[in-house]
Symmetry: C2
Subunit: 277 residues, 2 copies
């Protein structure tokens, strides 16, 4: 840690240098454009790691509660010198952010999306496992899908255009930082996504309670994309009829699984069968 | 449906006949004692079914938004005549309940707990699958565990004394009504729970990232209880060392699974291997 010279004191909640954090109140920033808010030590760690590892993220600024400075030193050692680190007292931070939910550690990150979906796919290894998320509009669910993708070592998550933003604050939090660790890419409509995946050698597997094969009997090939749809509607019938479909065996007559849980079960099975875990 | 005579009009939000619903504002009722609030059509349906099926629940009263009456008729046909059905306009209902989140369908239910944990266990079939939840303090997670228990046809959920209430409003909602469909019982401390389960012929399986066997290799016997602990701490070491422990295979170095997701994966595998789904 390079001493006190690193820290920039903020005494005015309206200081324009921390305006992005103030905008959290209105959710102006969160989930809009490519900038996002990272909260808490685990998520900031993920952002610092992601920035060091590749060029997917830029860490733009950090805002710390003054009593969190000491415990954050080892993490700041890996933050580039050009990234400002602002420090404020509790009153200023609460007034700026608008509530006391910030855990004392905040950062603004910027996502640098892949140049295109094809560019994203071209960088994947020969043996690859993806989750393809379609129409997931709930931040808990998208966060849960990323968390599972991280736990089971998936190579990425691809999102159709109607999925919500995995970099929305709650989604990042629920993902326990995996939204910053697991590479992801937007991929247009479901049909466009399926077409590109297929052209890139992926077996696209539709997860559906009406799937024609059981997950237990699934024997994955070298490149697998697990397609998971919304909980209410599921995947569109015209998409499913062109795909291999798998059902996660369940007791008859019961309600369906939560989509994030379904992704976890299918990822675990695929990762085991592919010898990845 | 027995016509308009069934419905009792409420015009005053402070009417004492709907006081339990008004208490939702302060969470006085929700999760205290054995009474609970059921919200929405799916959950009321589960409560009506549960009441008809066995004596685990009593449906005490229903409160409907006036424009939901027509669509609820088929459900009310199965409600005992002694259960009052109150009807109110939107202004009265919003003022009584305190917010506009009630979906227009509310009920007060009462849980009739088993006489004892042993009494609960004695009623289970010879081949049985349980989830044993320990220290789950998050309502999303307890709701998710019940949802998974329902989907995979578990015979019940047993809860140590430190688990939160599965009949808390949010837990019921997240469970999609499974908290009312899947039998459950409190079981004292974890050690007491494990002892009773073992005495009743259950193989108690501790789910842990440090488990000695893999879930893939798990060959369940006739009676299985899957023990799931808190996400932060996990299961206590002195409990784990006396149990068969299973780890859900995952990529090295990643964070752990969410506990509800872990329960879903383990339940699916157990239910498949036990020939239950």
């Amino acid at each position: 840690m390079d001493g006190q010279g690193r820290f920039i004191r903020i005494d005015d909640p309206a200081d324009p240098r921390i305006a992005e954090f103030t905008a959290m109140r209105d959710r102006d920033l969160a989930g809009r454009g490519d900038r996002f808010i990272a909260e808490g030590r685990v998520v900031l760690q993920a952002l610092v790691d992601a920035q060091a590892g590749d060029a997917r993220f830029v860490l733009e600024k950090i805002l710390l509660l003054e009593n969190r400075v000491e415990g954050t030193g080892d993490l700041l050692d890996h933050v580039e010198p050009g990234c400002p680190v602002y420090v404020a007292g509790r009153d200023v931070l609460d007034a700026a952010v608008g509530f006391a939910m910030h855990r004392g550690i905040l950062a603004v990150g910027r996502h640098v999306p892949p140049a295109s979906f094809d560019a994203f796919l071209s960088r994947l290894p020969d043996r690859a496992l993806l989750v393809a998320a379609c129409g997931i509009s709930n931040h808990d669910n998208i966060g849960g899908i990323f968390r599972n993708a991280g736990v089971f070592g998936a190579d990425g998550v691809v999102l159709d255009s109607s999925c919500c933003d995995p970099l929305y604050r709650k989604a990042i939090r629920v993902s326990v930082g995996a939204a910053l660790r697991v590479p992801f890419c937007r991929a247009g409509s479901i049909a466009e996504m399926v077409r590109s995946l297929t052209l890139n050698g992926f077996e696209v597997i539709g997860l559906s309670p009406q799937g024609s094969q059981t997950l237990s009997a699934f024997e994955p090939g070298r490149r697998v994309a697990l397609l998971a749809g919304t909980e209410g509607e599921g995947l569109p019938a015209d998409i499913l009829e062109r795909l291999t479909t798998l059902r996660i065996e369940q007791a008859p007559g019961m309600d369906s699984l939560n989509v994030a849980t379904a992704s976890g079960i299918a990822l675990w099975q695929a990762a085991c069968r592919m010898g990845r875990v």
